[in-house]
């Protein structure tokens, strides 16, 4: 007898994780702007106020630094806050709290208190929201020791990583993609936790390794299909967490394929792709047959006009071209 697994959206998967962990642990509470009565700007927290009440699902004023800091203090006292920052763009207002407090407190005070909290926030471009509402700031958070950073690409990972994050003793940044909330897929049950620092192979291949997370996994998989039509078999690997990073799985693949392309929706300078490329050079230099390729958003503030925006963010064709370059081949026209 097979167990029927109903596909759910990435949005519903996150909702399930929140609900299950709130049932499991009384110390888990949610705080953020419009997450209660409005049920979230992206409806991720639908139904949770009705089920858990105002003590545990807390609508805040528009005061990102204040409520993020409040949740850090609550975590120091042993509660397990899950903060929703409406979008990653507004996290910049709370950056002092995240960088100077959340990431430092365990270290700076010699391990006297833990900071067991999660800060969830969606980001990414593609909805014509222009320069201030389209950030991918993964590199900024990954830069900071003391934080953990997860970047789920599927409903299963969104649920499993969030459950792990809520049970973790350290501050975890969960970067969700606005473009993935409607994406459907299977999810695990109540006890299905996805450990941090375990990459997964999304598509096996022998010719070139493509590293991508979050929405860029789907861009990479589309590119891999196009490459396959031209006889190039790309391997797509999703690290799932940037901190900790499963460099072993990436390096094992690159040593096999001898070629690598890193896809990242952020900017190129001092970015995620630059960082992963540096790791791959350090660990795989003697195996590489071509420079590691990078595919990033253009080095510009995100424009509004649809054609400009699409030109600025990574597309499957950009990934195809980068892979072909590692093979010293032209992209056929």
């Amino acid at each position: 007898m097979s167990t029927e697994v109903k596909d759910v959206t990435y949005r519903e998967a996150i909702n399930q994780a929140l609900r299950e962990e709130m049932i499991r642990d009384e110390s888990v509470f949610l705080m953020g702007e419009d997450i209660g009565h409005f049920e979230g700007a992206f409806k991720v927290t639908k139904g949770l106020l009705a089920e858990f009440g105002e003590k545990r699902v807390v609508d805040t004023p528009i005061t990102e630094a204040g409520f993020t800091g409040l949740c850090i203090g609550a975590a120091m006292a042993g509660l397990r806050p899950v903060v929703e920052i409406m979008t990653v763009n507004f996290a910049l207002v709370a950056m002092d709290q995240i960088v100077s407090n959340a990431s430092k407190i365990h270290y700076m005070f010699g391990g006297q208190v833990d900071v067991p909290m999660v800060i969830r926030m969606p980001g990414g471009a593609g909805h014509q929201l222009s320069a201030q509402h389209s950030h991918s700031l993964d590199a900024m958070f990954t830069h900071v020791p003391g934080l953990k950073v997860c970047v789920p690409s599927t409903p299963e990972d969104a649920k499993g990583l969030l459950k792990t994050a809520i049970r973790d003793a350290d501050p975890v940044i969960m970067l969700e993609s606005e473009g993935l909330y409607g994406k459907k897929g299977p999810v695990g049950g109540e006890d299905h936790l996805i450990p941090f620092g375990q990459a997964v192979v999304r598509r096996p291949g022998r010719d070139c390794t493509i590293v991508a997370t979050s929405r860029m996994v789907w861009v990479a998989l589309a590119a891999a299909e196009q490459l396959a039509a031209q006889g190039v078999e790309a391997e797509v690997i999703d690290p799932r967490t940037y901190r900790p990073l499963d460099l072993d799985t990436l390096a094992e693949s690159v040593r096999r394929t001898s070629r690598a392309v890193v896809v990242d929706e952020g900017w190129p300078e001092c970015g995620i792709a630059a960082n992963l490329a540096a790791h791959l050079y350090e660990s795989c230099f003697d195996w590489l047959d071509a420079p590691v390729g990078r595919v990033n958003s253009a080095d510009v503030p995100m424009p509004y006009a649809k054609n400009l925006e699409q030109a600025a963010i990574p597309q499957p064709a950009d990934v195809v071209a980068a892979v072909m370059a590692t093979l010293a081949r032209e992209v056929p026209r």
Partner: protein
């Protein structure tokens, strides 16, 4: 100014308050010497002159009331009962320091005594204190969260955010604005639109008032009332203490900006001298008792200093301890990269 009538503490508590104030003064004078001798590095911010504000506040609280502070916080730790050895060892960056040499002068914490730390970003700890108040209400304890910050921090936006949330949610929270009249070298009149800071909290429906921060009993009475409001009536309060620090902003500040006449005027109100006069006048202590107490405090400070100097340095192999709650086994980040 509105305060409830000052409950006069019993004589033994009065003597304890005087001893703690003296301990803070002597400890910080010794820390300054250790800094000048090159044994303390980084920044060293002394609270000399602010002892009444510190001890008056802490003597009004319960031992489990969570307390947060700025980087000028040696006195808060001492008043909460942290071992002076562990504090001096932290200042000297030793393995026996209260934070094992990770924090230094600006970042003391003693969570066993509900002292939740000294923080280096001006105003940045105030939301943490709000979170400690949040946790107290969430768990339905009787704790009151108290945060001490300067009038300079009151100009930071996040502090206004916290006034708003505390007022909105009626959190068991006491905001303590220690107005020492200077943000580093900038006097209040060049930094703030109004001379008083407590009306800012009042604007968010928080009961607030101002008292003389050089008078330990006045501070104690004000904080007792503020803590009572937060504990019994479950609403926030804000107390502004007008005080003065006798040293520069930190040891690296030669303190040339402030007028000598101004400093002398405030030194005439030295909280240790005025409180000693009260105790002598009321017969709570005699001159012999004062001398014996000072000698005992000096022995404590001598012992703490000797202990710190003799303590081992932190092993370099432990550099990456405490970055995360569990040891970090990621080859790409953390211990693998930073270990020698």
């Amino acid at each position: 100014m509105t305060t409830s009538p000052p409950p006069v503490p019993p004589p033994d508590e009065m003597r304890d308050i005087f001893r703690t104030m003296t301990l803070i003064r002597r400890f910080e004078e010794r820390a300054a010497e250790e800094y000048m001798a090159g044994r303390i590095g980084g920044f060293l911010h002394l609270a000399i002159g602010e002892e009444a504000a510190i001890v008056g506040t802490i003597s009004a609280l319960r031992p489990d009331d969570p307390l947060t502070s700025t980087y000028r916080e040696h006195g808060q730790a001492l008043a909460r009962g942290t071992d002076p050895r562990a504090i001096m060892a932290e200042l000297l960056g030793r393995d026996t320091g209260i934070c094992r040499g990770r924090g230094g002068s600006m970042h003391l914490m003693d969570v066993q005594r509900a002292f939740y730390g000294g923080y280096g970003i001006v105003g940045g700890a105030v939301p943490l204190a709000l979170g400690l108040a949040w946790a107290a209400r969430y768990r339905e304890t009787e704790q009151v969260s108290v945060t001490m910050f300067g009038e300079g921090a009151a100009n930071q936006g996040v502090v206004s955010e916290c006034f708003n949330m505390a007022g909105l949610w009626d959190l068991p929270m006491v905001f303590l604005i220690l107005n020492n009249q200077y943000g580093m070298g900038t006097p209040v009149e060049r930094a703030a639109a109004m001379d008083d800071f407590f009306p800012r909290a009042a604007a968010y429906d928080i009961e607030s008032w101002k008292v003389d921060g050089m008078d330990v009993l006045a501070v104690r009475a004000a904080l007792s009332e503020a803590a009572r409001l937060a504990r019994e009536e479950r609403r926030p309060a804000c107390v502004e203490l007008l005080a003065y620090r006798y040293r520069g902003h930190s040891m690296s500040d030669p303190d040339t900006v402030r007028a000598a006449e101004e400093k002398e005027r405030w030194k005439a109100r030295d909280p240790l001298i005025t409180f000693e006069r009260v105790l002598l006048g009321e017969g709570i202590i005699d001159a012999e008792g004062v001398a014996a107490m000072r000698a005992e405090v000096d022995r404590v400070v001598d012992d703490a200093t000797a202990f710190a100097r003799e303590s081992p340095e932190v092993p370099i192999a432990d550099l990456a301890d405490y970055v995360y709650a569990e040891p970090w086994n990621d080859a790409a980040h953390g211990s693998a990269l930073v270990r020698p």
